[in-house]
Amino acid sequence: MVQRKRKRLLIVGGETEPPVESPRGNDDGSGVGSLLRAERLRSRFELRDVAKALRIRLPYLEAIEEGRFNELPGAVYAVGFIRAYARYLGLDQADILRRFKEEAAGANQGTELIFPAPLPEGRLPSGAILLVSLIVAVAAYGGWFYLSSLEEAATTRAPAVPVRLSAAVKDAPAVTTILPETTSNAATTAARPSPPVPVELPPPAPSAIASPIPPQATLPPAPPPPPRLAPVPAPAPAPALTLAAPSAPPPPAAPSFADSNAIPAAPESVGGNTPRLYGEVNIDSRVLIRATAESWIQVNDAGGTIVFMRTMKQGDSYMVPPRPGLFLYTGNAGGLDILVDGRQAPAIGRPGFVRRDVALDPYRLLSGTAVPEANRAKAGGDSGR
């Protein structure tokens, strides 16, 4: 745009030597040109002689006399020529110049100064670049915002199964399905060589029953650092392998990499929003924790060993092993319904409240004293309904 403007100005500047124009001309006989001519004729000078004496080109003098000031090379030169001419004729220079300026008033006195600039290389003007990049940025942000809002809705419904985990599902279907169908199933799984089946080491919990596949117990010899998903304990493999081992604590020695594949695969492999039941092996369980809203729970035994830990989706339930001295730790106390022998126990807190060391004792739960006093006081003294 700038370039175009410059070009136009250049053309204008090139064709018409700009500055001085005569708005009135000298037809009325009162112009500077006619005045000068009359004076010259009166003094009987030839224009040619004047031009020779003043060294001003004849065409310029003619232009002055005829009032065609735009034919002169420039305002400053026009003034000089007229002054010289007036002086030559013995006229009052100041007066003539004043008249000339009045006559040429309105015509621009200034000279357009347009510097010859190198031709711009074929580049977009920076303004356009800025505008386009702004639009792109806004569009990108808008798109991202829209997509992410969609995605968020999707994730609330069903978490996508990571590729790695889905691969594990394919590899070890028996292990990944949480359903603790039969020991035979587990045994076949364990017999499979390719995906090493996670097997707990001799569990420290006294109630735990030894694994029925003792040779496999030594299977994970490599002690790599705990895998990323290690925080999820191994309740899943435990029921899969041992029918009556409800509270298989995580192996003290970190499970091998194969374990890390298998362990998380168990709880997470089943997608969708169908309510799930955990701890189904605890057939004689009296306490059932059902999530009415998404809530994270952790069940520890008296020794502080984690028995169960996961984020329960709405509708998921967990059958608490029938063991004394288990404690519940939850991040959303109001999102849990606790059923004791099918009866609704008093709520342990309001939604969003963190509850620690809730005793999972049937009697205390029913009587509403499961939540420790100190904990209750800290959480705002709200436990009962």
Partner: protein, 346 residues
Amino acid sequence: MIQRLLGMLSADMAIDLGTANTLVYVKGRGIVLNEPSVVAIAEVKGKKQVLAVGDEAKQMLGRTPGNISAIRPLRDGVIADFEVAEEMIKHFIRKVHNRRSFASPQVIVCVPSGSTAVERRAIQESAESAGARRVFLIEEPMAAAIGAGLPVTEPTGSMIVDIGGGTTEVAVLSLGGIVYSKSVRVGGDKMDEAVIAYIRRAHNLLVGESSAERIKKEIGSACPPEDGEGRLMEIKGRDLMNGVPKELLISERQISESLTEPVSAIVEAVKVALEHTAPELSADIVDKGIVMTGGGALLTNLDHVLHHSTGLPVSVADDPLSCVALGTGRCLEEMKTLRNVLLTAY
């Protein structure tokens, strides 16, 4: 971006730092200051302090007691006394610049085309320490040509003769640049000195610089009048023979005689410039002639002398004294398009 913001806040200025007069052009306001480049310094308890700057100081020139000295910090178009020049620029900037705005101004200063790198550096540093945010320099003939309204950017040669206080700049310009320039250290000051020398020689009378300048302005002429003695003027000074103040009558013819030497130096410079001009540009100059600016252009009949000695039409620009300041100011106003003519150390 920041530059533009600061530009809005500060009053950018163009300074024609001349040997005789300093003109300051403020963006959007035009020429706001035109004062002699004179600083009066008083020595109080061994410490130098600025007493007066500009008009006030000029009146003190040559009339000062021992503890005051009126100094002209510029000689021959360049800074001779660095510290005093800095004080002067500082004073002028402060006088013109709105002190409420916190942004310091952007300043364009003229330098003679013949000045050395050291002299340019000195002027730039003076302006910087006087409180300028950025200093640009512009060569005087270019500023004068822009101020006079010459079509300097067109592909046609224009010749400008800028006769200042300290230097005379002769330049041929085309396509926005200086094709040839010659700077001779002859100007108004040299004419004053010539007048003083002549009067002393011919009449044994010593006159001061200010008086000499007044004489030059009133009855100075580049060529002797055709007949008679021309205008007459009474001059006052000190008689060298017996040391008493004396008054005598001097004529235009005598002064024109005294000015022969500086005038011929100027004519010589123009001739040299013409000699060094490329033939195409010479052809353009023959058509349009020479344009004179600067205070020296006001010397009676100087255009006449130049016209006769070169055979070219000679035009004196309108308001020759402020051409340089106006041209510099125009560069300030049209910084974007006229940026090419500015010299800068940044």
